[in-house]
């Protein structure tokens, strides 16, 4: 490919790509994102190529591995264009049938379609599936349309037209102004207005400035940045180049975690292609603006997602936050003005430049505009990435898109904002998602993690889990975080093990206050949130653990016992055979008894006891009933009660 020298050449080349594309030509798009690859997408892609060849259809049908469309629960996901027929959980064995039926005979393979768990109805077209239908996918929608390894695919959907527009139709100030007007707020957590951050850097005196992509996505259960980097790397790159132009930077960095090898690969490939096309490097499209991008792989520290720690790491030093009373957009990387924005924030930039700030602000709440991608995980039917308009209620996300809670269980809470976010209870499900709304509810937007919990989840244990995670990830530089969290972790662990004592809640509150008020960085300042929000909404659970040594959710192992109800046990023997520690005594026609001394509370007996008996129960906070007398243990055939006359 020859270098593109002018904006006119770019448009001419785009037309050339489009003229080669027939919109009615069948195209089989298979998600090649990390989630689907883990479920066997590579084999499916290979099988399609082979089958298409075998059937002699390669001249008529395209096959491509694309970015993640979000429905990870049902991967590998296959979408066939132009009809947008969507097949889920496709295996290589399904491929010949799909080619035969859908490609050759234009028929739908019923069994691979999405089936509504309630009505049993099936949906053939991707946009009709409730999971997709209720979303507003302005960022994620491109993922399934393009092969992320091919710049021409991105150009075909209008890629780099925003860069052209910024460079040739707008001054740098106008770009900053447009982003400011859009009120685009940082998608990485804090929600700081991106335009104001850019403006600060632009106006800073120091001539050398930097723009940086924060792709150090570290929240457990969060993978939206990964999906964008893997699935549409050029959109982030384009945003970054525009940012560089607007701010006056000649260099950009992409700080991506090493644990995302596919993201590293795809973004590096994208940079190479953009350089080859003249969309990156010296004198971009003949505009006189030069810009280069460097990919930096993080070494696996959660704290490096924090701005000053990330910049310290970029400088080649230990990734620890540094005290800042001057913002990093004025004094950041190498003490120079540095604009750091999250992956998703950068991905929004080309859309805002192309379609305008007014288009962007049409969607959202008063303080939060545009859409937001959430990774919906935990006790939810439709695990995956969802992109929704700001202002959608939690209830709509969890039930209309997420399909509710599996196994007929009751919803208990949703944890948002990553490990230092908070838990929001059922009574707040009508809360609209937005930066300010979530903060007011005691949680936060964070980078967009959304972990759904059902009635079996112990909220004290949830707090313990996240505090433990943060203790482990504390960089150790400042005392309130390193030592405070260490003690909080210890106290919470004691509580979940039945060793809680009076005064623990107050000590935890004091340690939380100290961490919030005195920690060096945002990790420490927000770390107590999991404790504080669960205390706010589920204080009774803390008290039950401490005062009664009872776990109301029947989840904390040290506080529960398993017991076989002699009235219900039919001596089927399944639990006895499955018990991994031989803790169950019984025989044919002899009521089973759990030896509490031997029992490790693994819960196997509870899970395997057939639903028609439901003889195994969990007990917490009360003594296990004494075993029944030996002579009463023989099962007598239960006679049906005589009908009432």
């Amino acid at each position: 490919m020859a270098r593109i020298h002018t904006p006119e050449e770019l448009e001419a080349y785009r037309q050339q790509i489009l003229s080669r594309k027939d919109p009615n030509r069948p195209c089989i798009s298979i998600c090649a994102g990390a989630g689907c690859v883990a479920s066997g997408a590579d084999e499916v892609i290979a099988a399609f190529s082979e089958e298409i060849d075998k059937q002699g259809l390669s001249a008529k049908v395209d096959t491509k591995g694309t970015g993640c469309p979000g429905f990870c629960e049902r991967g590998p996901v296959v979408v066939i264009y132009p009809e947008q027929t969507c097949y889920l959980q496709v295996t290589a064995a399904d491929v010949p049938e799909i080619v035969e039926q859908t490609i050759k005979n234009k028929k739908v393979v019923e069994r691979l379609l999405f089936k509504d768990p309630e009505t049993g109805g099936r949906f053939a077209r991707e946009p009709d599936i409730p999971f997709y239908k209720n979303q507003k996918r302005t960022l994620l929608c491109s993922n399934i349309k393009i092969d992320s390894k091919r710049i021409d695919d991105y150009l075909a959907i209008g890629g780099y037209s925003a860069l052209r527009r910024a460079l040739f139709e707008m001054t740098a100030e106008q770009v900053v102004e447009e982003v400011k007007k859009s009120n685009l707020r940082g998608r990485g957590g804090a929600g700081f207005p991106a335009g104001r951050k850019w403006e600060g850097s632009r106006n800073a005196e120091e001539p050398i400035k930097y723009v940086i992509v924060n792709a150090d996505e570290g929240d457990p259960g969060a993978f939206m940045d990964r999906a964008l980097l893997e699935g549409n790397p050029h959109s982030i790159l384009e945003g970054l180049i525009i940012g560089g132009y607007a701010v006056g930077a000649a260099e950009g960095y992409i700080y991506v975690r090493q644990e995302y090898p596919l993201a590293v690969k795809n973004i590096s490939l994208a940079i190479g292609q953009a350089e080859e096309y003249g969309l990156l490097g010296d004198d971009i499209l003949g505009s006189g603006f030069s810009f280069k991008v460097i990919v930096h792989q993080g070494a696996g520290a959660f704290v490096c997602g924090e701005s000053t720690a990330l910049m310290t790491a970029l400088e080649g030093r230990v990734g620890e936050p540094r005290p800042k009373y001057i913002r990093s957009n004025i004094k950041g990387l190498w003490e120079r003005p540095s604009v750091l924005n999250n992956v998703e924030t950068w991905a929004n930039v080309p859309l805002i430049v192309n379609r305008g700030a007014d288009w962007f602000t049409e969607v959202g709440t008063e303080g939060s505009k545009g859409t937001k991608i959430f990774s919906l995980v935990g006790k939810i039917n439709n695990t995956g990435l969802v992109e929704v308009p700001m202002g959608m209620t939690l209830k709509e996300i969890i039930y209309d898109i997420g399909g509710g809670i599996p196994g007929g269980k009751k919803f208990k809470a949703v944890q948002t904002g990553g490990p230092s976010g908070g838990c929001i209870p059922e009574e707040q499900l009508d809360l609209q998602v937005g930066f300010d709304e979530l903060t007011q509810a005691g949680s936060m937007m964070g980078s967009g993690g959304m972990i759904v919990m059902d009635e079996d989840t112990c909220m004290v244990d949830v707090a313990r889990y996240f505090i433990h995670f943060l203790t482990d990830e504390s960089c150790g530089k400042c005392v309130p975080c390193r030592e405070g969290l260490r003690q909080m972790d210890r106290i919470l662990t004691n509580i979940t093990r039945g060793r809680g004592k009076e005064g623990d809640i107050e000590t935890l509150q004091e340690l939380s206050d100290t961490a919030i008020e005195a920690s060096l960085c945002a990790l420490g300042k927000s770390a107590p949130n999991p404790f504080l929000s669960t205390l706010r909404y589920f204080r009774d659970e803390y008290e039950a653990h401490i005062k009664e040594h009872r776990c109301p959710a029947l989840s904390c192992k040290e506080l529960i016992a398993f017991y076989i109800d002699p009235e219900k046990c039919s001596a089927c023997g399944i639990c006895r055979k499955k018990c991994p520690v031989d803790a169950i005594d019984g025989a044919k026609k002899k009521i089973h008894i759990i030896d509490q001394e031997k029992c490790t509370r693994c819960g196997t007996c509870f899970e395997v006891c057939p639903p028609k008996f439901r003889a195994v129960t969990k007990i917490s906070g009360e003594p296990v009933p004494a075993p029944i007398d030996e002579e009463k243990r023989m099962v007598t055939k239960k006679t049906k009660k005589a009908p009432v006359q």
Binding site: A301, S474, C478, V479, D513, S519, L520
Partner: protein
């Protein structure tokens, strides 16, 4: 550079632009406790003990004085119920590691801290980093550093460098608030200095 004028504990104070609050306070004899500060070293902001309250244009916030630059018109309070409570908690957290450190014992008395409040974990080091930073920034020897991260972080002498650099320096020894540094040095020396003549083998 022009002088910045502000107030600390009710006293008007003047300082050069770029001075930190801690330096400005100490220059007029107002004492603010610190554990990780040293005048010859770059401010670190790790112990958080020097936290103070700053009122700036009607907003009150907590800042650590060793890194906060002075600003015209601010009103600084170095003691308050909130500050004392934070300092007390910090001292208590550190005393779980070094319960008998004289520096911490004196601070505990001042702030009413209970050295037995938290379960003991006798690692002795309180991670002030004075030794590591002094060796790097002042002595220029880099004979010791931090290893690992967070609650597992430890100071560690690098035997190859320490064997050469430390015996006639030891300037970091008096900086350590807990005496752990000397112990770490002796341990490193006995275990792994390449010089065999000082090892137990030669005493046979």
């Amino acid at each position: 550079m022009s002088d910045i004028q502000f107030e600390i504990d009710g006293r008007p104070v003047k300082a050069k632009d770029g001075t930190t609050l801690l330096e400005a306070a100490r220059s007029v004899g107002i004492e603010i406790p610190t554990l990780c500060y040293h005048e010859k070293l770059e401010p670190y902001g790790g112990c958080r003990l020097c936290i103070v309250e700053v009122e700036d244009r009607g907003w009150t916030k907590l800042v650590v004085s060793c890194v906060f630059p002075v600003k015209n018109g601010i009103v600084v309070r170095t003691r308050s119920e909130k500050i004392d409570r934070i300092r007390k908690t910090i001292i208590e957290l550190l005393m779980a590691h070094a319960p008998d450190s004289p520096v911490l014992t004196a601070l505990a008395e001042e702030y009413g801290a209970d050295k037995d409040r938290f379960e003991k974990e006798s690692s002795f080091c309180i991670h002030c980093g004075l030794c590591v930073r002094y060796c790097a920034e002042v002595a220029g020897k880099h004979a010791l550093g931090f290893v690992d991260r967070g609650i597992r972080k430890e100071i560690c002498f690098i035997p190859e460098i320490a064997a050469e650099a430390c015996s006639d320096c030891k300037e970091c020894f008096p900086l350590c608030p807990t005496s752990y540094l000397q112990a770490a040095y002796v341990l490193t020396k006995e275990l792994s200095f390449p010089d065999v003549s000082s090892g137990p083998e030669s005493e046979k």
